[in-house]
Amino acid sequence: MWTPTGAAAPQPLEQLILRRGQVIDTFKRELIRRLNLPYLPEDLHEDVSLLGSGLGLDSLDALEIVLCVETCFKIKIPDENISVLRSINTVVDFVLEQREKTGGQA
């Protein structure tokens, strides 16, 4: 099995993991704090559905998630872009995409 300390892992892979991992960690911690979720960050799988099934959050919670992204990453989620809120991973994808568009300034 591969281990993170092994010399075989190429640098770009580590950079991808680091970049994504930081956004995930920040978002999860803020999500748990804002919504008072009874979980640890490591309990929240990044693919778990945020609304409906999974965490079962409601429309008020969805607004909180939008504010969470705005506060943590200085990025606005457009009202019409509800697909972003499907899972933690889809939110993180959106944040990373926006950062790329703005050259990492977001």
Partner: protein, 368 residues
């Protein structure tokens, strides 16, 4: 082997049956692509009578179920449904469960990877048998799924149906007979489960089939549901669940109330959680022509084996293979390149799930 009361009607419609954990199920109706498309674009009707279904009186049903299941049963509000799981003493998955709080009764539905006798033995741990009535033998469960499925339930049961939130239960009647009506579904399109006495099963099946076909839909088997669940990233106990068994790498923590009273297998699960989860299941995709992304295949990174495929399917929406892979948590991130089957094998990629945007998310039922 347990068979559906609707087997004759389904066989006449072209259904191909197979056995799964001691239960005869509809595998497919000859055209997997058409069955999946029916759900995404119109509606599909499926026989879900493979489910074990029980009714328990509120007292002692609430305490009995709470002692068995990972979720918090006393917290279920009237008319709502808890999605949780049943584990064995070792904290390994046995069944994916819905518990519905329905007017002085709890309705308990299990997708079990244990044969009926083994499931009964597990449930016996909390005095379940004395409290529960097994509805599986004399009821059918029909699953109506699809972008337009709401039109059918509105026509048959009235516009009130559209006000039901996801994961809720209500009692309606069909042909003068009470049925339990559940809004649920694991396809990411609108979904409804209809729990009806076997005496009206054929009549209800015929009525739903007529309406489904009028919308351009059709019958669908469980192979299609497997593909749709993967595409919508709904947990599938019959695929990744059965292969991994441990709810923590599967990401099912959301089904667990870690603060509740003891439950079957809970101590083992909490110990593993405290020790730190070492592996995690994540989404994978490959190019359209790649035939290697199959369950059991080894996944490589930098020349070394790092994971294994635990569920696979083909997305009709994306026109490409999808899978779930079990990885060490240090590598369990979307957006990474891997190889499949060998260090020089075809390129695959970890992806964010769900990878599709279901059409049903664009419809507001309360405005219909």
């Amino acid at each position: 082997m347990r068979s559906s009361p609707l087997k004759t009607q389904l066989a006449a419609a072209g259904a191909i049956h197979r056995e799964r954990h001691g239960v005869e199920i509809v595998s497919h109706l000859g055209d997997l692509r058409a069955e999946c498309r029916a759900v995404r674009e119109a509606a599909a009707l499926s026989d879900f009578s493979f489910l074990r279904v029980f009714s328990l009186p509120e007292n002692p049903g609430m305490d009995v179920l709470d002692a068995l299941l990972a979720g918090n049963v006393p917290k279920i509000r009237f008319g709502r449904i808890l999605h949780t799981f049943l584990a064995d003493q070792e904290g390994q998955l046995a069944a994916d469960c819905y518990v519905a709080n329905n007017d002085q009764e709890f309705v308990f539905l299990c997708e079990s990877i244990r044969p009926d006798a083994e499931l009964d033995a597990l449930l016996a741990a909390s005095g379940f048998a004395a409290a529960a009535r097994d509805l599986s033998a004399d009821h059918v469960v029909l699953s109506l799924d699809g972008f337009k499925s709401w039109e059918i339930v509105k026509k048959l049961f009235g516009a009130d149906v559209l006000g039901l939130p996801y994961l809720s239960i209500e009692n309606y009647s069909f042909a003068g007979t009470p049925i339990r009506f559940i809004r649920a579904g694991k396809t990411s399109e609108f979904g409804y489960l209809l729990l009806a006495p076997a005496g009206i099963a054929a009549q209800l099946f015929a009525a739903l089939k007529t309406e489904v076909e009028a919308l351009g839909g059709q019958l669908a088997g469980l192979d299609a549901h497997d593909a749709l669940r993967l595409e919508g990233r709904f947990f599938n106990i019959f695929r990744e669940g059965e292969r991994v068994r441990d709810p923590l790498p599967l990401g099912l923590q959301w089904m667990i109330d870690f603060e509740k009273d003891p439950f079957l297998g809970g101590e083992a699960i909490k110990q593993r959680r405290a020790a730190g989860v070492k592996q995690k299941v994540i989404g994978l995709s490959a190019e359209a022509g790649c035939g290697d992304l199959k369950t059991g295949a080894k996944i490589y990174s930098a020349g070394q084996p790092v994971g294994e495929v635990v569920a696979d399917g083909f997305s009709q929406v994306l026109n490409q293979p999808l899978a779930l892979g079990l990885f060490p948590v240090q590598l369990a991130f979307a957006g990474l390149p891997f190889q499949i089957n060998s260090p020089d094998g075809p390129a695959i990629r970890s992806i964010s799930m769900p990878p599709i945007m279901p059409r049903s998310l664009t419809v507001k039922l309360d405005e219909m």
